[in-house]
Each structure stands twice: as C-alpha cells, then as structure tokens.
C-alpha cells in the first residue's frame, strides 16, 4: 500500500517538531496508530563489533515485547537495526532521507523489500525520486525521533548524525537512552557525551529500555549457571581461540569443538575471531 498522510491524520505525528506537512508512505501505515510502542534505534554509519553485539542481543528483546523499531535506513547501525528486527520477525519503520519513489539497489533493495514483506512501513517527507542531500538526512531525523516514544543511541562519534536525532529527541521531550562505551573508543564518544551531560539515560541492558514502558522481556537474561571453564573465562573479556587454549591449557581442537557446542546453546557468540558471551548468530 502506498499513499500520502496529512499531518493531522495520526496523533503520533503531532510529536514531530518542526511539523511536517505531509508524509509519503509505503507499507503498513497502521504502525503509526496509538497504543503501539515505537522505539527509535539509531547510531553512526561506522559500527564497531561492540555496537553489533548490542544490536544482536537487544533488538530480539524489543521484538519479543512487540516494540516497533524505528530508524533511518542509513547503512551502519540504522540498517543493522532494521535487518535484525526483520530477521527476528518484528515490524520496523524506516524513514528515508530521500524521495519515496527513489530506487535503491543491491542489499538496500533486499532490506527494503523485507521490511515491507514483514508488514513494516517506509516513510519519507520527500516525493518522487529526489536524491538525498546534505540537509535532507539531518532533517528526517526529527521524524525518526518524533514518531517514536523513546530514542536509543547505540553508537555515535562526536560528529555523528545520531546526535542530531538525540537533540531532536530532547527538544521533543522524548525519552533518550544511550549505550555507554569505553572511554577510548571513537564510536562511543558521542554516547558517552550524552550521558555525561545528562542528556540521555544510561542503558546497559535491554531491560533498562523495556522497564520504562512497563514491559518485561519474556526470558531470563542470565540463561544458565553452567560453570563451563570457557564461559567462566569469557566473563573476564573476549578471547580468541588461541587465548582460550593457552590460558586453559587445552588443545586448540578441543576448544574449537566446545565453542561450537556453546554457540549452538546460545551461550557464546563470535565476531572477528573473538568469542564472547551472549548471542550473535550471523
């Protein structure tokens, strides 16, 4: 389904400030109805493995709680959030920084179709095939935060566009969350700045976000109490196969086999050759 929404048609659009005159849409426009909880998940184009891990582990919880993930369809955190949501069977709203009719290609097109197939919604305030410009991307950020009930910044550098979304969220009096990161990490400087200046609340688990809406993730965060030596070791940080083998003094082949079992159990995940606790099935 496609069409045009006028500004007074949905109550949720009242939060979009500065006001939009009309919005072009494709897909399931009911996602803008009252009573649904929309969460904007935003971040920078560059994503570190840390950011990926957060997305992989949290989005699932949001989907389980029937939240609708809103984001900006830019590659990086935005698209990962959309994709993760779609993969987990959730509904998501993407707000484009370009014209609603503009063709996207390759991976973008695939994601675009997946979002619509799963009952998601694509929005843009620009008509036709207008291409994205320097000003259209920051401008659409006000819609991202405006139609959402809360905004969660996963990762952002100091000059990231996500901080513009965060600013809109504050001005629109939306709840703002930021995921803290190491003080030496380029990609966490923006989120840490938000926290330090009391602009955003700290989110260290998905539950921090779920709680303010009175939602509870349906499964326990600590999934098991097994005292597997590998799991115990990974509590102290991510390790590569070699590191695990040398610390525990177990042969590499045995470690590899055990890691597979732990991965299949959903206890351990892997990214870039490092193993860490939690899920990350690629």
């Amino acid at each position: 389904m496609e069409g045009i929404i006028e500004k007074n048609e949905y109550k949720s659009l009242a939060g979009v400030l500065p006001q939009v005159e009309k919005l072009y849409f494709k897909g399931n426009v009911d996602l803008l109805n009252d009573g649904l909880i929309r969460l904007a998940v935003v971040g920078s184009r560059r994503v570190s493995d840390y950011g990926r891990w957060v997305l992989k582990n949290w989005i699932e919880d949001f989907v389980r709680s029937n939240m609708i993930v809103v984001s900006g369809f830019m590659y990086g955190v935005d698209q990962l959030a959309h994709r993760e949501c779609v993969v987990k069977g959730g509904k998501t709203i993407a707000i484009l920084g370009w014209g609603i009719g503009r063709k996207v290609s390759g991976e973008d097109e695939k994601l675009f179709d997946q979002i619509l197939d799963q009952g998601g919604l694509i929005l843009s305030e620009y008509e036709g095939d207008m291409s994205g410009t320097k000003w259209s991307f920051p401008r659409r950020n006000r819609i991202v935060s405006g139609i959402s009930d809360a905004v969660l910044v996963i990762e952002a550098g100091l000059n990231s566009g996500s901080l513009i979304t965060a600013k809109y969220a504050v001005n629109q009096e939306k709840k703002l969350f930021a995921v803290p990161g190491g003080i030496d990490r380029e990609m966490s400087k923006g989120t840490n700045w938000l926290i330090k200046n009391c602009k955003a609340e700290v989110a260290t688990t998905s539950r921090d976000v779920l709680d303010i809406f009175g939602l509870n993730s349906k499964y326990q965060l600590s999934k098991s109490d097994t005292t597997d030596p590998i799991l115990e070791l990974l509590k102290f940080g991510d390790k590569s196969l070699d590191e695990i083998a040398s610390v525990l003094r177990i042969d590499a082949n045995v470690v590899a086999a055990r890691l597979t079992e732990l991965m299949l159990m959903g206890e351990v995940c892997e990214w870039g050759g490092k193993y860490k606790r939690g899920v990350y099935d690629s």
Binding site: R46, S240, S246, A252, A257, M263, K274
Partner: protein, 506 residues
C-alpha cells in the same frame, strides 16, 4: 652430402621427436638456410652455430648449407637445435662420422654448451620410445640422470663432443641417481615450531595438509598469515617419485632449473603478487609457458591479499581447482599444464585491516566492509573448505618466550601421512586421493556420520551457523579430523571442531 641428426622439441610439458636434416651441397652459392617453420630464436641459430664451430677449431664449410627441421609443419622455437645443427653440418661436411644418439642443447659463441630447458622432458621421451644415447649440456644433464633406459652424455663444449665422435677421446656417461634418495634427504625450509602461538592456525594447517583442503586466513596485518602459509609445504606428505618427476617436468619446461639441479625435491610454494598478469598466473602466451598455478603443482599456491587480485584472475582458478589441470587453447594447438595445487589465501578482514583488532580501532564503515567482502567471488569461496581468523600475536609472548614448545613440522608430517594413508585405503581406485576432492555423492558413499553428529549439523543449520552449501564442506573437514584421530566414523567432536572453520556469512 646429407646428415640426419635426431633431436627433440618441447611444447608445453610434452615432447616430440624432431629430425634435423643437414645438406652441405657441392654446387651453388655459399648460403646457410634453415627451413621447417623456425621461429626467431631458431633462425638465429645460424650465427651461433657458425661462430661456435669456428671458435672450436673446426672448419665452417663455405658451401650452400640447408637445414630442415622435420616434421616441417610444426613451428619450432627455442635454442636447443644449436647442437644438432652444428653436429649435422660437421657430419655432412665429412669432418666427423654421422653419429647415432640424440642431440639437444644451446651453443655459446665460444663453442661451450649452455643450460637448456626441457632436458628431462627429452630424456623421458627418449626413454618411453627407443631409449639410447643422448648428448646434452653438462649444466642440465643431471635432470636426465634420474630417467632409466637412457645413456646420458654430458657435453661441456663442442670440441669435446667432436673428439668423442671421432673416437679420439671419450666422454664419460653420467651415473644414474635414484629419485627417492634425493627426496628423503630434502628438509623443509620452514618449521612450524618456529612460529610462536597461533595454535588454532597450526591445527587448521594440519587439517589442510591431511585432507588437501584449500584454506583462507583472514586477520589484521602482522598477524603472521604469510608465515603460517609458508610452513604448509613442510607438513605436507613427502613427494612420491611420480609427483617429483611431474613437478620437475614443469620447472624444466619453464627453464627454472638451477645449474646442475637434478629434480625438484620439495613441494613448491608459490606466492604470486596481486599485480601478476593473468598469463603469469594461469600460464599461456603465444608460446605456452606454465603459469604460477602450474609451478605450484603438488604444492601450495599462496595468494596474499587475495581480495586485491582482480576478479577475473581469481575466477580463472576455478577450473584448475576442480580438475587439477589448466587447458590453454591457442591457434597453434592446445596445451594442458598440470596444476594440482592447494590454495592458501590470506585477506584482511576489512579495507583498513584492523577489524577485530584488540588494540587498534577499525576505521571502516559498514558499507566499505561489506563491499570488501564481496570482492572475493562466491564460486571461489565455495571451493575453500577451511576458513580461519588469525588474531594478532601478543608481542610480549614473542619477546618473553613464555610459550610452550610446539610440535615440529616433522612430527606433524608423520600424523598427516598417517591420515593420508587412511584416505588412500578408503578411496582405493576411485581416482580421488584426499578428502577435499570428495564430491557430495562420494561423501554419501564413504563418510559414516554418527547420529549425534548429524543432530549437531541439523542444529547448526537451524541456528544459521551453517548454510546448505557449507554443509558438505563441514563434513569433508570433519572426515579429515576423524582421519587424523584414527576414527572410523565422524563423531560429534569432529563436526563441532569443523564448524569452527566454516565460512562465515557476514
């Protein structure tokens, strides 16, 4: 008078007989003509032959000389016809009796013989046909010393040969050498024990060697990917006699044998740079020469920075990886070079190289990373069974030396050889010699997978750890792991380990 001298021509890695007919005519103006489709290097033989004969103290007949290279319809190239032409002229002029035997070699202006490519091919050709004597340059003669049924006479210079043919002095026949004695004394040039840490990578190398699996390392710069690749030939099983001969044939045809070298004793390791041309990589050219993939025959082809190789280059490896040969078709005919190599690739995880590095932050964005990954073509990745991320080694480990002494290449090779033996017994006469070459049909036929292991595979597919096309690759690798352990069936532990070396879907 006419003299007919036997010689041979090398085309690709095959050889055919050429008869050099020389006529020194009584009548006509003095001239020196070569017919029988000589190419430039053969046509220039005139000057070399003339000068060499004069400088060896013989007379160059001032008559009408006609040389025919028969069969006359095949193009001839190379400098190896110098010696038969010179001998033919001297015989036709009556300075020496018309000799028997085969002559092959390039002349230098002072009458000496130079190193000449393809001697082993000529010797094998002669041995396969009627056998007999062959006269070849002393610097290349050792290649022929491993071939039975030929009498090899190394020739230092034209003068020595003339004296021998006149019966005034004797050339000494070359002693035969047994290939296996040469292979056994060969040492590997890079030992696994020299590599600090990287236990996971060493394990993968062992599996790769045992099952003949192609291998892809990814990791940040300085992680030691190329060092690891270099140690692979040292743990591969020792060359067999036939393998050794085949490799030597290629190197001899390419003119890459050293002075006095008899055979290639070790498995080759080739590491072409990504700026290599397509012909340089797969072979070819107007006069077909073996490329890097053929020079890596029965050895290791290492593509460092594999993502930097152009797509067409990497794609061109598909046929040889499947068939073990490369067919080159040219207007002059078809040549096939053997190219049965084990592929080891190394890639950075992202354009800047530091994705996943513990200390240095990656500077690439999402799009750049996925674009970079797409540069490796799917069909090639399909043919790589083992994938491993190589983390950087902690420098304190190298300096501090608190590492456990790891296994030497020799010990690992012994285990590899045992695993290979199991595979040979299993496959018998099916034409496959290693697990990596099993088709999916053969997997069903030969691999015994325990029920528990099957469940794990199903679970892995469920959890999207494994794609359908990755399924058979994991079984192949698991079979090799089982062979290394001496187990008759594939158990859970084998599958679980193999899953860690699967291709990651990013």
């Amino acid at each position: 008078m006419i003299a007919k001298i036997r010689s041979a021509a090398v085309f690709g890695v095959s050889c055919f007989q050429v008869e050099v007919e020389v006529d020194v005519a009584e009548k006509g103006f003095p001239a020196f003509n070569i017919v029988g489709l000589p190419e430039r290097s053969v046509a220039e033989a005139k000057e070399r032959v003339k000068t060499a004969i004069v400088n060896s103290g013989m007379d160059f007949p001032n008559r009408r000389i006609t040389v025919n290279l028969a069969p006359a319809d095949i193009p001839k190239e190379g400098s190896a016809y110098d010696l038969p032409i010179a001998v033919g002229i001297l015989a036709a002029d009556g300075q020496i009796p018309v000799p028997g035997g085969l002559f092959y070699g390039e002349l230098s202006l002072d009458g000496g013989l130079r190193i000449t490519k393809g001697v082993i091919l000529v010797a094998i050709h002669l041995s396969d046909h009627e056998g007999g004597r062959m006269f070849v340059p002393v610097m290349s003669a050792n290649e022929a010393s491993v071939i039975r049924r030929v009498e090899v006479y190394p020739v230092r210079c034209l003068k020595d040969l003339v004296l021998h043919l006149r019966g005034e002095s004797n050339l000494v026949e070359l002693n035969k050498i047994e290939i296996s004695t040469l292979i056994e004394t060969a040492t590997c040039d890079f030992d696994l024990a020299e590599i600090v840490g990287q236990e996971g990578a060493k394990r993968v190398l062992t599996i790769s060697a045992a099952g003949g699996h192609n291998l892809l390392f990814s990791g940040p710069p300085g992680a030691g990917k190329s060092m690891l690749a270099r140690s692979l030939p040292g743990i591969l099983p020792q060359l067999s006699r036939d393998e050794c001969l085949e490799i030597t044939k290629i190197y001899s045809a390419a003119g890459m044998m050293d002075v006095g070298q008899a055979i290639i004793r070790r498995r080759p390791f080739r590491s072409p740079h990504h700026s290599t041309s397509l012909v340089g990589l797969v072979g070819g050219g107007t006069k077909p020469v073996p490329g890097e993939i053929s020079l890596a025959h029965f050895g290791v082809l290492f593509l460092d920075e594999m993502a930097e190789f152009s797509r067409s280059m990497v794609e061109s490896l598909r046929q040889p990886i499947e068939d073990g040969v490369i067919e080159i078709s040219r207007s002059q005919g078809k040549v096939s070079f053997p190219a049965c190599f084990q592929l080891v690739g190394a890639v950075n995880p992202c354009p800047c190289g530091y994705l996943g590095h513990p200390k240095i932050e990656c500077r690439c964005n999402e799009r750049e990373i996925s674009k970079y990954k797409r540069r490796l073509s799917g069909p090639i990745l399909d043919r790589i069974d083992l994938h491993l991320f190589v983390p950087p080694v902690d420098t304190s480990e190298i300096v501090g030396g608190s590492v456990l002494q790891s296994e030497t290449s020799e010990n690992v090779r012994a285990r590899v050889q045992k695993a290979r033996k199991r595979q040979e017994e299993r496959f018998g006469q099916s034409g496959v010699f290693a697990n990596a070459r099993m088709s999916s049909k053969m997997i069903r036929e030969y691999c015994v997978v325990s029920d528990e292991a099957k469940n794990m595979l199903a679970l892995a597919m469920d959890k999207q750890l494994l794609s359908a096309r990755g399924y058979f690759k994991v079984i192949r690798v698991a079979q090799t792991i089982a062979d290394l352990e001496g187990s008759d069936s594939i158990e859970v532990a084998h599958v679980a380990e193999a899953l860690q070396y699967r291709e990651r879907v990013f």
